[in-house]
C-alpha cells in the first residue's frame, strides 16, 4: 500500500505484488565446480562470496546475468541495494537522493566489477529480462537475480532445467531484502462507470480473488502467504518462506510522479558505467543530480 500513497492521498489498491530479489542458480553448474547445490547459501550470502562463486563458475558458463536496460534494471539493482539496509533511494523527508552515498555507490560498483571481470554476458548494456531468462534456461548463465514469477516461466518452458532459488546476496553487514513492486489498480477519475468499477475493485481485492485470479504474488498479505505455501523451485525444495521473508523486508522504488524521469536517467548512467564511461561514484552522482532536480 505504501507505493500507492502520495502526499497523504491513496491513489490505488494493490493488485499483485512482487519482490525482485531472489537468486536463481543453475544447480548443475554448482555441482560441477564443487558447490553444494542443495545448500547454496554460504556460497552466495554476501557480495564478496557472490563474486567468488562467480569467479569459480567462470569455467563452466557465464556466471551472472545482470540487466542493462529497461525498467527491469532499476528493479534488479534495487533488489541488491536494499540488502544494504537502505530503505529508499531518497532520504527521510524525500527531498534528496541518497544514491550517491556509500551504499548506492557500492551497489553500482558490484555491477561494474561483475562486468569488468567478464562475469556477465556480452552486451550487458543492452540486455533485458527476456534475454537473460532465455540464456539462463538454456544453461548459458549460472545465476540471475530476479523475481518469483520467473519460476513459473522456467517450469513451463525449460522443464529439464534444474534451478534453485535462494536469498539475494546481501551487502556485507546487510540484511535480507528485495525490491517491492507490482501492479496496482486505480479507477480513472474520468471514468464513466465509477460505481461498476468500484464494485469490481472491491471484489478483486477480496482474498478469494487474490488467491484464485492473480497469477503473480497477490497484493494482499494473507493471500500472498497462501500463494507461496508450497512454492517449490526446480529442485523441489520448498522455498516459499524465502520469498515471504524477503517480501516482508522489501522496499519500493521511489514513489513520486516524476519517477519515470529518474528511472531514465538511472538507466542511462548505469549504461555508461557498464560500458566504462563512468565510475560508480560518477554514475550515482549524476543520477542523484537528476533525481534532485525532479523532486
Amino acid at each position: 500500500m505504501q507505493t500507492n500513497r502520495w502526499k497523504g492521498e491513496t491513489y490505488g489498491v494493490p493488485y499483485s505484488g512482487g519482490a525482485w530479489g531472489l537468486l536463481y542458480y543453475n544447480a548443475d553448474h554448482f555441482e560441477e565446480v564443487g558447490l553444494d547445490s542443495e545448500n547454496p547459501l554460504d556460497a552466495v550470502k554476501t557480495w564478496p562470496d557472490f563474486m567468488d562463486t562467480a569467479r569459480q563458475l567462470k569455467d563452466v558458463a557465464t556466471p551472472v546475468g545482470m540487466l542493462g536496460t529497461t525498467e527491469a534494471l532499476p528493479a534488479q539493482w534495487s533488489g541488491f541495494y536494499f540488502t544494504s539496509g537502505a530503505e529508499s533511494w531518497l532520504n527521510g523527508d524525500k527531498t534528496k537522493s541518497i544514491l550517491d552515498q556509500d551504499k548506492g555507490v557500492a551497489t553500482a560498483k558490484l555491477y561494474k566489477d561483475l562486468v569488468d571481470e567478464g562475469l556477465t554476458p556480452k552486451g550487458t548494456a543492452n540486455t533485458n529480462g527476456s534475454d537473460v531468462a532465455e540464456l539462463m534456461g538454456s544453461g548459458e548463465i549460472s545465476m540471475y537475480q530476479v523475481g518469483s514469477w520467473q519460476a513459473a516461466y522456467f517450469d513451463q518452458n525449460y522443464p529439464d532445467f534444474n534451478y534453485g532459488i535462494t536469498y539475494c546476496p546481501r551487502m556485507k553487514g546487510g540484511r535480507s531484502s528485495a525490491m517491492a513492486g507490482g501492479w496496482n489498480q486505480v479507477i480513472n477519475k474520468q471514468s464513466e462507470n465509477k460505481e461498476g468499477a468500484r464494485k469490481l475493485l472491491a471484489h478483486l481485492s477480496s482474498k478469494e480473488a487474490h488467491t484464485s485470479l492473480i497469477p503473480a504474488p497477490a497484493g494482499r498479505k494473507d493471500a500472498t502467504e497462501e500463494f507461496f505455501n508450497g512454492f517449490t523451485d526446480g529442485l523441489g525444495r520448498e522455498v516459499g518462506d524465502i520469498v515471504i521473508d524477503q517480501y516482508e523486508n522489501s522496499a519500493p522504488r521511489p514513489v513520486h510522479p516524476s519517477y519515470p524521469g529518474m528511472s531514465t536517467e538511472f538507466q542511462k548512467q548505469m549504461q555508461r558505467l557498464i560500458i566504462g564511461e563512468a565510475t560508480p561514484k560518477e554514475a550515482m552522482t549524476k543520477t542523484s543530480e537528476e533525481i534532485n532536480s525532479l523532486l
Binding site: A72, G129, S130, L135, W149, N157, Y158
Partner: protein
C-alpha cells in the same frame, strides 16, 4: 525496357556474372526473412540454442498451430485488412479530387495550400498522438476502427494527394481543353477524361497507401484498446512483455505478416512499376 537493347550484346560471362550477383543480393536481402522462417519452424528449446543452428534439427508447425488456434491472430489479420482497405479507399478518393484540383487548376492560394498539405507530413507522428487522442475522444471515436481510419487519413493524404497531383499534371492540357470546347462540365471532364487517364497512377497510389496503413503501429497501439480490434502490428507486440517474449509465436506471426504482402507484390509489382514510369512522380 531501356537497358534490354544492350543485354543482347552482353557477353556470356557478363550475363553469368550478373545472375550470380543477383542471386547473392537476393540471398542477402532475404536473409532476415528466411531466418525467421527457419526459426519459426524450430521447437521452442531449439530456438535458443547456442550457437544458432542454420538448419533445424526438427521441423515443427507447433508455433503456427498455436498462432491460429490460441490467439486472436486471425482476428488481427482481418482487422488489418479492413482498416488498410478502408483507409486506402477513402484516402485515394479524396486525393483524386484534390490532386486534380491542384494539378490542373490555378487559383488563389493553390501553391500555398498544396505546400501546406505536403508540409504536414513533416510533423512527427509521436507528437500528434495526444491531441489526436483528445480529438477522437471528443468525437467518441476512440477504440474504433473508424477513428483509426480517420487518423490514418491524416497520415496518408499528403502523400496520396501529392502523388496523384503528379499523375494529373502529366495529362496534356489540350485534351481537357478540347473537352471544354465540346461543352462538357468541369466535373464531366474530370470523370470522363482525366480519371481514366490516371488509372495506373491511382493503382500505384492505392498500393502505396495500403502499405502505409498496413504497417502503421504507433497510432493503432494508442487508439485501440479492445484486444479484438487490434491490427497486426499491435497484435504482434502483444507477444512481447516486459520480461518475457513468446518467441515461437512472435516468429511465426512475423512470417505470416510478411507472407501475403510477398505474394501480392509478386503479382502486382509489374503494374506498380509500370505505372510509376512515364508518369508524374518525377520532379
Amino acid at each position: 525496357m531501356s537497358m534490354d537493347a544492350s543485354t543482347a550484346y552482353e557477353s556470356r560471362s557478363i550475363k553469368v556474372l550478373r545472375y550470380a550477383i543477383i542471386a547473392v543480393a537476393l540471398l542477402a536481402v532475404m536473409l532476415p526473412i528466411l531466418w525467421i522462417l527457419v526459426s519459426s519452424l524450430k521447437p521452442s528449446d531449439e530456438i535458443f540454442q547456442i550457437p544458432p543452428q542454420y538448419i533445424p534439427r526438427e521441423v515443427t508447425l507447433e508455433h503456427y498451430n498455436a498462432l491460429f488456434a490460441d490467439t486472436l491472430f486471425v482476428r488481427y489479420i482481418i482487422n488489418s485488412v479492413i482498416v488498410a482497405t478502408l483507409t486506402t479507399i477513402s484516402s485515394v478518393t479524396l486525393a483524386v479530387f484534390a490532386g486534380y484540383g491542384w494539378g490542373k487548376y490555378t487559383f488563389t492560394g493553390a501553391k500555398t495550400s498544396s505546400l501546406f498539405i505536403l508540409m504536414s507530413q513533416l510533423f512527427p507522428a509521436v507528437v500528434v498522438i495526444i491531441p489526436l487522442f483528445e480529438m477522437l475522444k471528443w468525437l467518441s471515436l476512440l477504440n474504433s476502427h473508424a477513428g483509426l481510419i480517420l487518423a490514418y487519413m491524416l497520415l496518408t493524404l499528403p502523400v496520396t494527394t501529392w502523388m496523384l497531383k503528379g499523375f494529373f499534371e502529366n495529362i496534356p492540357d489540350n485534351i481537357l481543353r478540347a473537352a471544354r470546347i465540346d461543352g462538357l462540365s468541369e466535373f464531366q471532364i474530370f470523370r470522363e477524361i482525366a480519371l481514366p487517364l490516371v488509372l495506373p497512377g491511382i493503382a500505384s497510389t492505392a498500393i502505396y497507401c495500403f502499405v502505409l496503413a498496413w504497417q502503421e503501429f504507433i497510432l493503432a497501439l494508442t487508439f485501440l484498446q479492445d484486444g479484438a480490434k487490434y491490427t497486426l502490428p499491435v497484435g504482434l507486440m502483444g507477444f512481447i512483455e516486459q520480461n518475457q517474449i513468446e518467441w515461437g509465436l512472435l516468429l511465426a506471426g512475423s512470417f505470416v505478416t510478411v507472407l501475403p504482402a510477398a505474394v501480392t507484390f509478386m503479382f502486382l509489382q509489374r503494374y506498380f512499376i509500370r505505372s510509376l514510369a512515364g508518369s508524374g512522380t518525377k520532379g
